[in-house]
């Protein structure tokens, strides 16, 4: 999902080969999957912010585009955190410490809800969860900000048929266009008194229809016209010429080495020393 589209800049991160950035993303993804503790994730987050600053990303723009994802992760995390009360869920954190109740919500045996509370272990889990989602979003944004779609297409076409990889990157390219159209459609519905704030869940579901139908239609229409435009420009006729040769420069090699060593170290510490485990 492209929250921030590519901007041609001459920064250290932009000059990196996309493969280097994919190695970085891969390592990051692995760490995010493994690490459940907030402390090492804070270090990963700091490193990522540093990369973002090197890339010259606009943090304000990122926040304005992605605020909803952060809010959803916080909100979702809080809800799930209430049920993190079972000592069996913790392996490394001492169970008595993990299940130390800070605020009791519903006592054990409450019908439907069961036992809910804010526990020390739950807070750690929640913090780590929010950090992981934040890191993932920022990493994706840095990637799409610094890698042009044509490079992505070329990369993917190493594993997928060229047409399919082009379709995938076109989907990314049209995200901001569709986001803008969706906003227009919602605004247009509001101008006729459309309201999704009804408390009735059936009404809320029904209220989505005036939005979904035009969005789907616009997306299909845009895709159809784009397909026509691409075909008119001989898309898929031959293997396309690569206009840029992506070489591995010394900075790519160093960057990959750094990511491999750091990821390897953190995986080792996770496996053998339990770092990041809950």
């Amino acid at each position: 999902m492209v929250l921030i589209e590519y901007e041609a800049k001459d920064t250290i991160i932009h000059r990196l080969n996309p493969v280097s950035k994919i190695v970085w993303l891969g390592g990051l993804g692995l760490l995010l999957a493994m690490y459940l503790e907030p402390q090492p994730l804070i270090i990963v987050f700091a490193w990522e912010v540093f990369i973002g600053c090197l890339a010259g990303i606009s943090w304000r723009k990122l926040l304005s585009r992605a605020w909803w994802a952060f809010v959803a992760s916080i909100f979702g995390g809080i809800i799930v955190m209430f049920w993190v009360v079972n000592p069996e869920q913790f392996w490394r954190v001492p169970r008595d410490l993990a299940c130390k109740t800070l605020i009791q919500l519903t006592p054990p045996g409450t019908p439907i809800l069961g036992h809910t509370a804010i526990t020390y272990g739950g807070l750690i889990w929640f913090t780590a969860g929010v950090l992981r989602i934040t890191i993932a979003i920022i990493a994706a944004c840095i990637f799409t900000f610094s890698v042009p779609l044509s490079d992505l297409t070329s990369l993917w076409s190493m594993f997928l048929p060229y047409k399919l990889s082009f379709i995938l990157t076109s989907g990314l390219r049209f995200y901001p266009v569709m986001a803008e159209k969706t906003q227009d459609i919602i605004t247009a519905a509001k101008s006729r008194g459309w309201d999704i704030t009804s408390k009735n869940p059936v009404k809320r579901v029904k209220a989505i229809y005036p939005i979904i139908f035009p969005i789907v239609r616009e997306a299909a229409d845009l895709a159809n016209r784009m397909a026509l435009a691409a075909e008119m420009r001989a898309f898929g006729v031959k293997r396309p010429t690569r206009m840029t040769t992506l070489k591995f420069t010394p900075s790519d090699i160093f960057f990959i080495m750094f990511n491999v060593f750091i990821t390897g170290t953190l995986v080792y510490l996770w496996w053998f020393c339990g770092l990041g485990k809950l």
Partner: protein
């Protein structure tokens, strides 16, 4: 006349015999009663805990009479208890840990007794890291009593890395009686430290190397060097953008 004298003689003898029988029975009864009092035992239960309040399993407990005669000797069970019966009387209860008396108390037993022995056994936590940063998961630890120069405890094997919020450390805890000790940790290198153990203490060995820790250190160093290399080579402005090889034609 003669037969009535003989009859009185017989009655007199019978009376004496009956009196003797009764008296001897009474005497023997009294004696056996007195003997039963002298043989009675009371239950004695003792819980041994260390300075942190944790049970001392396998501590040697002795109960001696005042004169020094050993009445009981045994080891505490997994929950730190011993249970025995002793006759009423005065005793000295002692607990030994690693051959050292860690608890001693005089006790007068008149009935069943349950007591807690707060022993002078302290926790010594040995933390083993390389450069304070990388935990060493396997190590040989030898603890020598500085006074007696005898090895009081040793450990060789995997060391636990407990959960800590802000640090990652391999730790092994020993329970030792108070005294002066020299602790030596051996892996690829060896490091020793001495201390006077008079309370629960933590000792950090920051420069112990193992294969795993050396490997991790080298990876971290390589990562730092790579990062510096990346920043230096990446920042060097060539005056060209990524597309310059195409657009500058």
């Amino acid at each position: 006349m003669g037969s009535s004298k003989k009859h009185k003689e017989k009655v007199r003898i019978a009376t004496v015999l009956i009196f003797i029988a009764i008296t001897s029975n009474l005497t023997s009864a009294a004696c056996s009663y007195l003997g039963r009092i002298q043989d009675a035992k009371e239950e004695l239960q003792l819980l041994c805990i260390d300075a942190k309040g944790e049970y001392l399993e396998g501590a040697n407990v002795t109960i001696r009479k005042r004169g020094g005669a050993l009445v009981y000797s045994g080891l505490t069970n997994s929950t730190g208890w011993i249970s025995t019966s002793v006759p009423v009387g005065s005793y000295i209860v002692q607990v030994y840990w690693m051959g050292v008396v860690v608890f001693s108390k005089e006790l007068f037993v008149t009935g069943p007794v349950t007591m807690i022995a707060q022993c002078d056994v302290y926790h010594l936590t040995v933390a083993i890291n390389l450069l304070y940063l990388i935990p060493v998961r396997h190590a040989n630890i030898i603890i020598v009593n500085t006074t007696s120069q005898k090895v009081v405890d040793r450990y060789s094997g995997e060391i636990e890395i407990p959960y800590r919020f802000f640090s990652l450390s391999a730790e092994k805890t020993f329970r030792l009686p108070a005294g002066n000790y020299t602790i030596t940790v051996k892996m690829l290198n060896s490091q020793s430290q001495s201390l006077n153990l008079n309370g629960n203490k933590r000792l950090t060995f920051a420069y112990v190397a193992s294969l795993g820790s050396i490997f991790t250190l080298m990876c971290i160093l390589a990562a730092v060097i790579s990062c510096i290399g990346f920043l230096v080579t990446g920042r060097r402005k060539t005056g060209k953008s990524r597309n310059a090889n195409i657009l500058a034609i």
